[in-house]
């Protein structure tokens, strides 16, 4: 069914489409430039030139590896919530809070009505798409996660803040579609933290995507399956991206009880491990999905963003993934 939707959108993909969750490691050159920029040793324009160079590097890398649906690699983003909070109206940069050990970050605060400031990701998307003939995904962080990872000084409660964000993020989705994006991923890594709030997280995503012509993917991080399946099937998207590399979940048993009704992106690479999976391991992980769903409905990707791996580790892991998928395409055909 979703294959037909992709076809209507003009996107043709092979069996077991391959993609990534969004972030790639900053290239060493860019990492150095970001540190210099923070110390005010280079200008914004100089930094941006290197962000573009790094983005182009990753587009070429994805093409060489043979991925089917590409990403811009988020070379210009720091934190996936702060990036949007810094651009949107209604937010202030908050004080420092600790995340673990000696790591601190500025947690954004909603201090007024949240407001879409005009396109936040569209120029990057447009430029990245101009570099390749492969489809590039539009990427944004979902309303529930932006709400959960910010303080709320303004709205009555978490639900009101979340729904207000959803209405504003819809404008970003509309702008991406107008620019030509056909596949849009809306990340909700926080979605499983409070099960009792899932109903309004779903309501919010409806506000963001309903009636808009694109193929929507939502990435939820490790643990989501155990806590919010099957209720998460009510998320109004075409494809759910779930980490399985690290889990011993028996998908067959779960889906027998509550059939999976969407396309499934199987996160088969462990992004927290330095070691590179073998194609055989990856094939086994993909087969866990293909045994329970028609292969036409299965996508293959890493289990989260690759930004914590090195450039070489990321390339190695993705190359192994493509080797596995090519073999499976032949075997399943």
């Amino acid at each position: 069914m979703s294959r037909q939707k992709l076809k209507r959108l003009g996107v043709e993909l092979p069996l077991l489409p391959t993609s990534t969750v969004g972030s790639f490691p900053k290239t060493p050159e860019l990492a150095e430039a970001r540190a210099k920029y923070a110390r005010k040793q280079i200008t914004r324009a100089e930094l941006e030139a290197l962000e573009k160079k790094a983005t182009e590097f990753w587009i070429r890398a994805q093409e060489e590896i043979g991925l089917d649906v590409l990403v811009d690699g988020e070379q210009y983003r720091g934190d996936m919530v702060a990036y949007f909070a810094e651009l949107m109206g209604g937010f202030q940069t908050g004080g420092l809070v600790r995340s673990y050990g000696n790591r601190y970050y500025h947690k954004p605060v909603v201090v007024g009505e949240v407001k879409w400031p005009g396109p936040m990701t569209v120029e990057w998307w447009r430029w990245t798409q101009s570099l390749t003939r492969k489809p590039v995904k539009g990427m944004l962080t979902g309303p529930y996660t932006v709400m959960d990872w910010s303080f709320n000084d303004y709205y009555r409660d978490r639900r009101s803040a979340c729904l207000a964000l959803a209405r504003q993020l819809r404008k970003e989705v509309e702008a991406l579609i107008e620019a030509g994006a056909k596949i849009i991923q809306i990340d909700e890594p926080a979605i499983s933290v409070r099960q009792e709030e899932l109903p309004f997280a779903i309501e919010a995503l409806h506000l963001t995507v309903d009636g808009l012509p694109a193929y929507f993917i939502t990435h939820a991080c490790y643990g989501a399956f155990e806590t919010i399946y099957p209720d998460m099937l009510d998320l109004p998207v075409d494809n759910l991206d779930l980490a399985i590399s690290n889990s011993a979940l028996d998908l067959l048993k779960i889906f027998e009880k509550d059939p999976f009704t969407k396309d499934l992106s199987l996160g088969v690479l462990d992004v927290h491990s330095h070691s590179i999976e073998t194609p055989a391991e990856i094939k086994a992980r993909v087969m866990r999905g293909v045994r329970v769903l028609p292969p036409e409905r299965v996508w293959v990707d890493p289990d989260c963003g690759l930004k914590t791996r090195t450039v070489e580790e990321s390339r190695g892991k993705l190359a192994a993934m493509l080797t596995a998928v090519r073999e499976l395409r032949t075997e399943l055909a």
């Binding site: 908050g94 004080g95 420092l96 809070v97 600790r98 995340s99 673990y100 050990g101 000696n102 601190y104 947690k107 605060v109 959960d148 990872w149 303080f151 709320n152 000084d153 303004y154 933290v193 409070r194 009792e196 927290h272």
Partner: protein, 328 residues
């Protein structure tokens, strides 16, 4: 009626002003080997003293040491144990904070006192009573990876209880009158209440004159409320921020145990008002059969920036004084 103001655990160890960043700088210097363990402890001592001073200035009548020396609520206990090691990062309940998971490989045994020396230092720099905080045996067990020594997380909870019993005994002897035990993990596992009960009984066995305050946060405590009343502890600390039904439930069922009312949201910056707090006090206070009653943040304040944490405590004092003064 007495309403005692108290912190509920952690306090931010750094602030945004440069002079409040000493701990962060010293931590980094310690990691790079530029200062000795002793020099770092000296900085920690100063930060603990500052955190206690700040709580007292904000009006707290019972303070904590801010858990300034804890890496996190799990590994802080397990670093001092035989039979346990520390593994990778895991998300702490529904927060954006991460803890290092303990791995239990064999029988666990305390190598030395863990919280007692921290309590003794805090008491030496505080003009108000200090409440030591322990992560509870059930929660420690739930957060651990079990690789050997015990057959189940239940058995492991009882083993952690034995370790904590030693802490409780020594804290009581050192003069602690009120000891807080955090057991957030039980909220997601009400089926394990009997395990919690056995573990708390063991941990508190030698508490002497000290009273045990069981604190629950990071989830809705209302479904558990009735059962909590039967647990072998002397007082209950409750996070009200997840539980819209809790005030009515307490009003209805009453409480045979003294309560610590976690009315101030320690997870969000928005400040409470009398409109949000007074109706809860009106509902709950008449149902309490015994005191003292504590007013606290919903959990540790480390989830907030330092300046806001202080403001939250000042708000708590202003609301308490306003309520008792009848300024409605």
């Amino acid at each position: 009626m007495d309403l005692i103001l108290s912190s509920a655990g952690s306090y931010p160890r750094i602030g945004d002003a440069p002079d409040l960043q000493r701990h962060r700088r010293a931590y980094a210097q310690r990691e790079r080997g530029e200062i000795s363990a002793g020099e770092f402890t000296k900085v920690e001592n100063e930060v603990v003293a500052g955190v206690i001073r700040e709580q007292i200035e904000a009006g707290m009548e019972v303070v904590t040491d801010g858990l300034v020396r804890w890496y996190d609520p799990y590994s802080h206990f397990c670093r001092g144990l035989e039979g346990a090691t520390i593994d990778g990062l895991l998300r702490l309940f529904d927060t954006n904070v991460y803890f290092r998971q303990p791995v239990v490989k064999g029988p666990i045994r305390r190598k030395a006192a863990i919280i007692v020396p921290e309590y003794e230092f805090a008491r030496s720099v505080s003009t108000r009573p200090v409440k030591p905080v322990l992560t509870g045996p059930y929660t420690l067990s739930r957060g651990s990876i079990l690789e050997g020594g015990y057959r189940s997380t239940h058995e492991l909870a009882l083993a952690y209880a034995e370790v904590l019993a030693g802490e409780v005994r020594e804290l009581s002897r050192a003069g602690a009158e009120l000891i807080q035990i955090d057991e957030p993990a039980i909220i997601g596992h009400p089926e394990d209440l009997n395990v919690l009960e056995a573990a708390l009984a063991a941990a508190g066995r030698e508490r002497g004159a000290a009273r045990l305050l069981l604190h629950l946060s990071f989830g809705d405590v209302a479904p558990l409320y009735r059962d909590l009343q039967a647990l072998p502890v002397d007082a209950l600390g409750l996070d009200f921020t997840y539980s819209p039904k809790l005030p009515a439930l307490i009003a209805d069922l009453g409480s045979a145990k003294p309560l610590a009312l976690g009315l101030i949201d320690a997870r969000n910056t928005k400040l409470e008002t009398k409109e949000s707090v007074f109706p809860v006090l009106d509902a709950v206070l008449p149902a309490l059969k015994t005191g003292p009653t504590y007013l606290t943040p919903s959990c540790g304040l480390e989830f907030l920036p330092r300046a806001r944490a202080r403001l939250k405590l000042e708000t708590l004092k202003r609301l308490r004084d306003g309520y008792l003064g009848g300024h409605r």
